[in-house]
Amino acid sequence: SRTRFIETFEQVKENFAGEQGMFRKLFGGGRAELELETDENGNIDVLESGISIRAKPPGKEPRGLSQLSGGEKTMTAVALLMAIFKSRPSPYAILDEVDAALDEANTERFINVIKGFLDKSHFIVITHHKRTMMGCDTLYGITMQERGVSTRVSVDMKDVGADGTLLDTGAA
């Protein structure tokens, strides 16, 4: 399990922080790092040590993850997630309003990255953003025509208003 862990870690590191990695794809440049933390004597114990992340959006010099903005943190987390996904694909991924903090340009990049994974898995994406909805192959609306009771309605892109609202579903 030691070798398995190192192997996975190295793969994810490459998928996340490499030249063609997810971080550079989502940010259109910049640099990221993923390292196993050393202990106080400078040694790395593969089975125990924590994992540290550094993220540098293009043209910036942040002093740590805490200086990143809300949107930058989301994009970095999505890059890490997709890097793990790439090395250990799962038949499905469920993302519940992952795009809440993203502006339109980043939402666009997020959807484009997801589209690169469809050979191995499929995605279920819950969103309020019109741009994300446009990237989906099919949309299902969950509404409460009767108060307190959820029902599923089929939604066509043309039923979605410019701001992402479902037109005419008569939700209670």
């Binding site: 399990s1 398995r4 862990f5 192997e7 996975t8 870690f9 933390e37 040590s49 924590g50 994992i51 540290s52 992340i53 993850l65 943190k73 989301t74 987390a77 999505v78 890490l80 793990i84 996904f85 090395s87 250990r88 799962s90 038949p91 499905y92 991924a93 469920i94 993302l95 519940d96 309003e97 992952v98 997801i114 589209k115 469809l118 499929h122 995605f123 994406v125 819950i126 969103t127 909805m133 990237g135 989906c136 192959d137 099919t138 949309l139 299902y140 609306g141 969950i142 509404t143 409460m144 009767e146 108060r147 307190g148 009771v149 959820s150 599923r152 939604v155 479902l166 579903t169 939700a171």
Partner: protein, 205 residues
């Protein structure tokens, strides 16, 4: 192996039987606040064996059963079924010795009618499926009654939680950290400390 559909009845705000098909690569779920979108995610976590009421946003496990609305009485039971496509994927067969080959061919011919398109497994290519159940679809069900009794089913046959866990071993399916991202949790991966992050990697390894 892919998700085919989710069926909910009496689970949280889904009082009536509701089916959500997943027959496209990217399925979007949309709708107003408070209408039940995240309850769909909870349903998938629950049927795959999640044992923690807190992770299902409730106080006690009984909170997953529809507890009534302005016009409806509480339900007596919650039931969720997750159906997977489990097609035969012909794969390189390891050379089998004679006796084993014969008995194999007999078993699979008898147990399930193969799809007409997929070839009867010839002794050369052993029928492989992603899930160790010899059917084109696998339906996993979890039910909970008001009196607290609960049941798991695989293709309508009673099973235990251990069987469900074994069914999905090494397939990447499960309620672990990296394939289900709950609402509000995405930035938490970064805010977690180094040791918690390690947890996500271990699940992936």
């Amino acid at each position: 192996m892919r998700l085919a559909k989710l069926t909910l009845a009496g689970f949280k705000s889904f009082a009536d039987k509701t089916e959500i098909p997943f027959n496209e690569p990217i399925v979007g779920i949309v709708g107003p606040n408070g209408c039940g979108k995240s309850n769909v995610v909870d349903a998938i976590k629950w049927v795959l064996g999640d044992q923690s009421p807190k992770s299902l946003r409730g106080g006690a496990m009984l909170d997953v059963i529809f507890n009534g609305s302005a016009k409806r009485k509480p339900a007596g039971m919650a039931s969720v079924t997750l159906t997977f496509d489990n097609p035969v994927v012909a794969s390189e067969a390891p050379a089998l010795n004679e006796a084993e080959q014969d008995s194999d061919a007999q078993v699979s011919e008898g147990s399930t009618p193969q799809d007409s398109e997929s070839p009867i497994p010839t002794p050369q290519a052993r029928a492989q499926r992603a899930l160790p159940v010899d059917t084109d679809q696998v339906a996993v069900t979890r039910q909970l009654y008001r009196d607290g009794t609960s049941e798991y089913l695989i293709n309508n046959q009673r099973a235990r939680l251990r069987d469900i866990k074994e069914l999905f071993m090494d397939t990447g399916v499960g309620t672990d950290a990296y394939s289900i991202i709950e609402q509000g949790k995405v930035a938490r991966m970064l805010e977690a400390n180094a040791a918690e992050r390690r947890q996500i990697f271990e699940e992936a390894a």
